[in-house]
Amino acid sequence: MSRYTASGLSFLLDGEEVPMAPGDTVLQAAHRVGRYIPHLCWHPGLPAHGSCRLCMVNFNGRPVSACTALAAPGAVVECQTPALQAERRTLLQMLFVEGNHFCPSCERSGNCLLQATAYQHEMAGPHFEEFYPGRPVDASHPDMLLDHNRCILCGLCVRASELLDGKSVFAIAGHGTRCHLVVDSPSGQLGDSALSVHDQAAGICPVGALMPKRVGFRDPIGQRRYDLHRVDEPHSQEAAPPADEETP
């Protein structure tokens, strides 16, 4: 705790002071004290990606992504403005129409960060025309399911597999709307890869794209994470931060 209070450095997030250390990003510092900035491609303990753009904030009046922007002492950061909220809702709508998200039949429903964030942003419908892309499901792994229909290309599994598991099972391929996740194995199938259900990469997916098999309805609907917690509650967006992250 000492590092943050002793340094005495802080910035303002929607008018409230957030303590920071030199080198912090805005999102890192806010997350540490349980302040919610919407995010999908960021996870404590992994380097920032900056791809989902949900974490857009105004930093001294300039729009930046909070997960990549370095915090600065005395900076004025606005996150919950009506304009930013509306832009985030549009970004969420884009993610929904780009893939195939049938929430009612998804076993991740209630535990899905995308869904919870969309509720939080009062997204009532898709707004844009759906792309309905033809995307395959890879059920070749004995313990894991990879459903490309729900992948939002956040790259969390890619980074977790490389940096936390030391396996590099995943990569992003393609370009533009044809971007997709690929698996490192001779056949390209998950079942032929080195992924284990105990890998960090296996548990990090914020949506229902990469899921363990046979545990789908262990927590009944109504008792899932976002049935019990709001997405903006401190640290409800993902599992407890790793031990090496200091909390003040």
């Binding site: 920032a48 900056g50 791809s51 989902c52 753009r53 949900l54 857009m56 729009p63 992504s65 990549t68 370095l70 832009e87 549009t90 970004l91 884009m94 993610l95 129409v97 780009e98 844009f128 025309e129 792309f131 939002i152 290309l153 590099s168 099972v169 995943f170 990569a171 992003i172 391929a173 393609g174 370009h175 533009g176 709307t177 044809r178 971007c179 690929v182 698996v183 490192d184 194995s185 001779p186 390209g188």
Partner: protein
């Protein structure tokens, strides 16, 4: 195949950074990249197959499924279209019996559009097998091409005049009009010392010619002062902005000037290694540039102890891109140089601090290097005396579209657009697109404005549209360009550019309403604010400008002031009608009302 893979890998000493080069060369030999080739490359370079697949599938000119042995790519820039490229491509497809984008059943040929080949001054143009260009297409030429393909004549044996690329310079100023002796600027720079060289560049007030306009002297100083044992100089010859071709002309006519400028940068920042990142579409320039590098090594202008100056070591490699406009963005370019997907990096850190393989790196445009060489010969103050106070010196422009003399023109910055229109022989002009699709669209009332950072900045392209042209169609072509070229990394650009292109198509098909207009405006605001790099941020510029200045061309297309769906309900019902054999009135939408007898 194995032998080819081994040879190509050996040529690059199995280096993982050379991945894009390795894949390009493999494909040049084999036509496409089968999975076994990817696996062999992955193993040799110590990378995963998924990683190699990710890289190979990123670049438009690399293919993971077979394409035709003759791969024909028509330049799809708006100026090529205005010169009839669409009909010519249809004609070639008809002659060859192949559908656009498909491979003919015998595997011999495929025909498709590509973004812009950088030959807007002599279009319509096309690219064969990502290597040879053919300019000034006509119906006769297209028919003759079809014959060559049917006769399986190797492209190298096709008539040489088809591949003739001209470099018309219609107005030369100090940059293009002054003779230059290779080595002379280096000599001047060595006399000034490394710091003195940098000082002259700073005094000149030169700002980068690649579009962003960052002060070159400051960039070099930051690079020189950043911590790191090795430093790097990169020439951005990606020139992917549709309508821009001035770098092509500079690289062909003034290659010594470009390379000398790079060597000056190396001298000023203390770099020993340099790269020319040459866009894939300019593959036909490779041998010429390599020859210039050879000559300069032989003359002691590259390599160890340049001009006998102990410790002044610098050499240059050429990397050829593989068809990805976003690789012109400097951090994406560095990723591509390192053998990765060309997605832009998070900044900070900026390339001047952490660039190629983590080394402080200065990335500059082709023309910036040309300017630097002249600045060292005649002094920074001389350059600063040209142009305007905030936009010093001259600027090279590529002019194309509706004008009598398309080509390259050099003017002092601050020159009004109308002067340029007059010089290139434009008549009855309704609009000028400055700086390509990412730039600004000017209408008649604005032709008095000047090309300068304080007025209309430009990366060097001017596309001229006369009154025959439909500015909505221009904007629609640009929307498709951005959707095709988005790297796909960030949500707003990946999805937003696609939504933009689809909405424009909906309007073009006559299904538009006011609702679509407000969606377009919403996309404009969002993309401008939230994308990871400049590509997505600029993608709505043409829409915004044309909507503001040529609104009637949009309104003409609106069917309704309210919402209209994109789908044609009656057409959707045709399948059901065919299945049920019904053709009565009730089987149609909207249902026709029973007429009272």
């Amino acid at each position: 195949m194995e032998a080819t893979v081994r040879t190509v890998l050996a040529r690059h000493a199995n280096q993982p950074q050379a991945l894009v080069q390795i894949l390009r060369e493999l494909q040049a030999e084999q036509g496409w990249l089968p999975r076994e080739a990817l696996m062999a490359v992955a193993q040799a370079t110590g990378r995963t197959v998924a990683d190699v697949e990710g890289v190979a599938s990123f670049y438009r000119f690399l293919h993971l499924v077979p394409v035709g042995r003759y791969r024909v790519l028509f330049s799809d820039n708006i100026t090529d279209r205005m010169q009839g490229s669409v009909a010519l491509m249809e004609r070639l497809c008809r002659r060859l019996g192949v559908a656009p984008g498909a491979v003919r059943a015998d595997g011999r040929v495929s025909v498709a559009p590509c973004s812009c080949t950088g030959l807007g001054d002599q279009g319509p143009a096309l690219l064969i097998n990502h290597h040879q260009v053919i300019t000034r297409l006509t119906e006769e030429r297209v028919d003759a091409i079809a014959d060559c393909i049917e006769r399986q004549l190797p492209p190298a044996q096709w008539p040489a005049e088809w591949m003739q690329v001209e470099d018309p310079v219609h107005r030369a100023d100090v940059l293009l009009g002054t003779p230059f002796a290779p080595g002379s600027a280096l000599q001047a720079a060595r006399a000034l010392g490394r710091n003195g060289t940098l000082e002259q560049v700073q005094r000149s007030g030169l700002r980068g010619r690649g579009g962003a306009g960052f002060a070159t002297g400051l960039k070099w100083e930051l690079c020189r002062d950043a911590p790191g044992a090795q430093r790097c100089v990169v020439c951005n010859a990606d020139e992917g902005e549709p309508g821009t071709f001035k770098d092509r002309v500079l690289l062909r006519r003034h290659a010594h000037l470009v390379v000398e400028g790079m060597t000056l940068a190396a001298w000023a920042v203390g770099a020993r290694r340099g790269f020319i990142y040459l866009r894939g579409e300019y593959r036909f320039l490779l041998e010429h540039l390599q020859e210039v590098l050879r000559q300069r090594r032989a003359a002691g202008l590259l390599g160890p102890d340049i001009q006998g100056e102990a410790g002044f070591d610098f050499d240059i490699e050429i990397h050829v891109g593989a068809g990805a406009y976003v690789c012109g963005e400097e951090s994406a370019l560095l990723n591509s140089l390192e053998g990765h997907r060309g997605t832009p990096r998070i900044r900070p850190p900026f390339p001047v601090e952490v660039g190629y393989l983590g080394q402080p790196t200065t990335v500059n445009n082709v023309e910036t290097f040309c300017a630097v060489a002249h600045i060292l010969l005649r002094g920074g103050d001389w350059w600063a005396s040209l142009g305007t106070p905030k936009s010093t010196g001259t600027k090279v422009h590529a002019i194309s579209g509706d004008c009598a003399r398309p080509g390259v023109y050099e003017y002092p910055l601050g020159t009004p657009v109308e002067r340029m229109l007059e010089d290139c022989g434009a008549a009855d002009t309704q609009a000028v697109q400055v700086g390509g699709p990412s730039g600004t669209c000017l209408s008649v009332t604005e032709f008095g404005r000047c090309i300068a950072y304080e007025d209309v900045p430009s990366a060097g392209a001017l596309m001229v549209f006369d009154r025959r042209r439909d500015m909505f169609e221009v904007a629609r072509n640009f929307a498709h360009f951005f959707a095709h070229e988005s790297c796909g990394f960030c949500t707003p650009c990946r999805v937003g550019t696609e939504l933009l292109a689809r909405r424009m198509d909906k309007l073009a098909a006559g299904h538009g309403s006011r609702h679509d207009m407000s969606v377009l405006q919403e996309l404009d605001t969002l993309l401008h604010q939230s994308t990871h790099c400049g590509l997505g941020a600029a993608a709505c510029n043409p829409l915004r400008d044309t909507l503001l200045k040529f609104r009637p061309s949009y309104e003409r297309r609106l069917q309704s002031l309210h919402f209209l769906p994109a789908l044609d309900l009656d057409a959707e019902l045709s399948i059901a009608r065919a299945a049920t054999g019904r053709q009565d009135a009730a089987a149609h939408w909207p249902p026709s009302h029973p007429t009272t007898p």
